[in-house]
């Protein structure tokens, strides 16, 4: 018997009939051939979030983003007019990577007045124009105007910087995001600038980790021992039910309850949670975000008690907004059909004192304890999926978002394949 109301059709999944209810194949997560198609069909055509405007605090600030999935690196920069631009990170002379520090495959960031190639000293303005060629007179009919950096489509939404590697993106960023995401507009991300940035290489397909964090059906089981002994029977018996699921275009979201540690008896909490007044759901004492009311897109179904919204922004960007006034992002950057780089960022309103800072530390350390269990389990899933001993897997109603993710991946690959065949 469901604790929380479901749509009139009887289930969240039936509310979106295009998803079906049949067992699912995970061939899309173990096939090198499918991964090769995803690189072109998805990652070279979708808008990709590569960072936030706070990473570019001044004119001349830049950072690079490695996009192995698209065989490129981009450099994102705030130019001398304050405009955020992106370029392929390649010198037009002989193809050297333009901006890097010490290790060519690692990301770098900093501040510069112009881009200077380490190899032969070619220089570029921050708007991409080639401004200097070493021994220019030695070249043959070379006009610097023809040798600017190769631009990448770049746009911002709510302080999140997106790039699109397509020559001519079929949608603007706003069109791509759609109302379900742009309704979050007005949420004060810009006030939440205290950042914990995590990174790991994970031995699974990128979609498997998205699946792991877009269903909470696993949480009472995989993470059972994270609960105090007294709390475990209740946690496991209750299982998990989402308050609200919604799908729009390639994006999806879930609203969940929970995390009201300050209302729990002490025996249901870890002693350190009680001392720090913090835990997995973040600090118990929310900062003042200066909001009279939440933007329409946050807790969009007005559910109580609201705990968090997890927005799964296609293809590989998750935005998770907590009721207690902080947010986190996940990014999943594929590096092969069965490996990817996971990035997790926690953002808080900067602590005003040691007590607030310690509450952030407790939330961040707790996050890592959970994430390590999740990340390791994915490798176990990947290994056995690759056996192909079982090829059809039943997904329940609380796993609706997993069903949607894999359908969208298939749809984008199908559309791309048809376009390419000229059908």
């Amino acid at each position: 018997m469901a604790r929380f109301e479901k749509p009139a059709e009887g289930s969240w999944t039936a509310h979106y009939p295009e998803l079906g209810t049949e067992p699912m194949s995970y061939e899309d997560s173990i096939s090198p051939e499918f991964y090769e198609l995803e690189r072109d069909a998805i990652f070279k055509r979708a808008w990709l979030n590569v960072g936030r405007v706070e990473q570019l605090p001044r004119n001349g600030s830049y950072f690079t983003k490695e996009l192995a999935v698209a065989n490129t690196s981009v450099v994102v920069v705030r130019d001398m007019d304050g405009r955020v631009r992106a370029f392929h990170n390649i010198c037009r002379h002989r193809g050297n990577k333009l901006m890097w520090t010490d290790f060519p495959r690692e990301e770098s960031s900093g501040n510069c007045r112009q881009f200077v190639c380490k190899y032969h000293g070619w220089k570029y303005e921050l708007d991409g124009a080639c401004s200097f060629v070493q021994q220019e007179s030695e070249f043959f009919d070379l006009d610097k105007v023809d040798y600017g950096l190769v631009p990448v489509h770049c746009d911002e939404w709510s302080g999140f910087i997106f790039v699109n590697l397509d020559k001519e993106p079929s949608q603007t960023l706003t069109e791509f995001l759609g109302p379900m995401i742009t309704d979050i507009d007005g949420y004060p991300f810009h006030l939440q600038t205290e950042r914990f940035a995590y990174r790991a290489t994970v031995g699974s397909n990128w979609k498997l980790f998205i699946d792991a964090f877009q269903e909470f059906y696993h949480a009472p089981i995989l993470h059972a021992r994270q609960s105090p002994v007294a709390a475990r029977p209740e946690v496991q018996a209750a299982g998990f039910e989402g308050l609200h699921y919604e799908i729009e275009g390639p994006h999806r979201m879930v609203t969940t309850f929970g995390g009201q540690g300050w209302r729990m008896p002490p025996e249901m909490l870890k002693p350190m949670e009680t001392v720090t007044r913090s835990g997995l759901f973040g600090p118990w004492d929310a900062p003042d975000l200066g909001l009279d009311e939440l933007p329409a897109g946050v807790n969009r179904a007005h559910k109580k008690p609201w705990g968090l919204d997890s927005f799964q922004i296609w293809p590989n960007f998750v935005l998770l907004i907590w009721e207690r006034g902080w947010y986190l992002t996940y990014h999943y950057w594929p590096t092969s059909h069965n490996t990817h780089v996971f990035e997790g960022n926690l953002y808080f309103v900067p602590a005003k004192n040691a007590r607030e800072r310690l509450a952030h530390e407790m939330a961040a350390v707790t996050f890592k304890e959970y994430a390590l269990q999740d990340g390791n389990t994915l490798e176990a899933t990947q290994i056995m999926l690759e056996s192909r001993v079982v090829t059809a897997f039943p997904l329940n109603d609380q796993e609706i978002l997993c069903r949607h993710l894999h359908k969208v991946a298939a749809d984008w690959v199908d559309e791309y394949t048809r376009d390419r065949a000229g059908v």
Partner: protein, 111 residues
């Protein structure tokens, strides 16, 4: 180096300071993984009862202008958070079922 690392009223915790006053999560996580449960339990048992007192002491100062000894006390509190998982939850340093998985913290607020 001063003779003592922590504010005077926390002198009984001095023995733990050289080990656990660590400025970064990377160092604290590594120390936890390399420590015995006996050592972490001893640190936890000595410090946990005084955690609230230590928080109250540290929060008197602006975060960006803390005296060195108070900042080390705050680092000691961060380490208490770190060892609380082995001590309160896992009964071992390693997170169960996390195998060789790692998660590096590349950017963190200081202090």
């Amino acid at each position: 180096m001063p003779d003592t690392l922590l504010p005077g009223q926390f002198s009984e915790l001095e023995a733990f300071a050289p080990t656990w006053c660590l400025p970064t999560e990377r160092e604290r996580f590594a120390k936890r993984m390399a420590s015995s449960m006996e050592d972490m339990q001893a640190f936890y048992d000595a410090f946990f009862p005084r955690a609230e007192e230590a928080i109250a002491y540290c929060e008197k100062f602006p975060l960006d202008d803390m005296p060195d000894d108070a900042e080390r006390l705050l680092q000691l509190l961060y380490s208490l958070v770190m060892v609380s998982f082995p001590v309160e939850t896992w009964r071992q340093a390693h997170i169960p079922d996390s195998g060789a998985a790692y998660l590096d913290l590349l950017i963190e607020p200081m202090p």
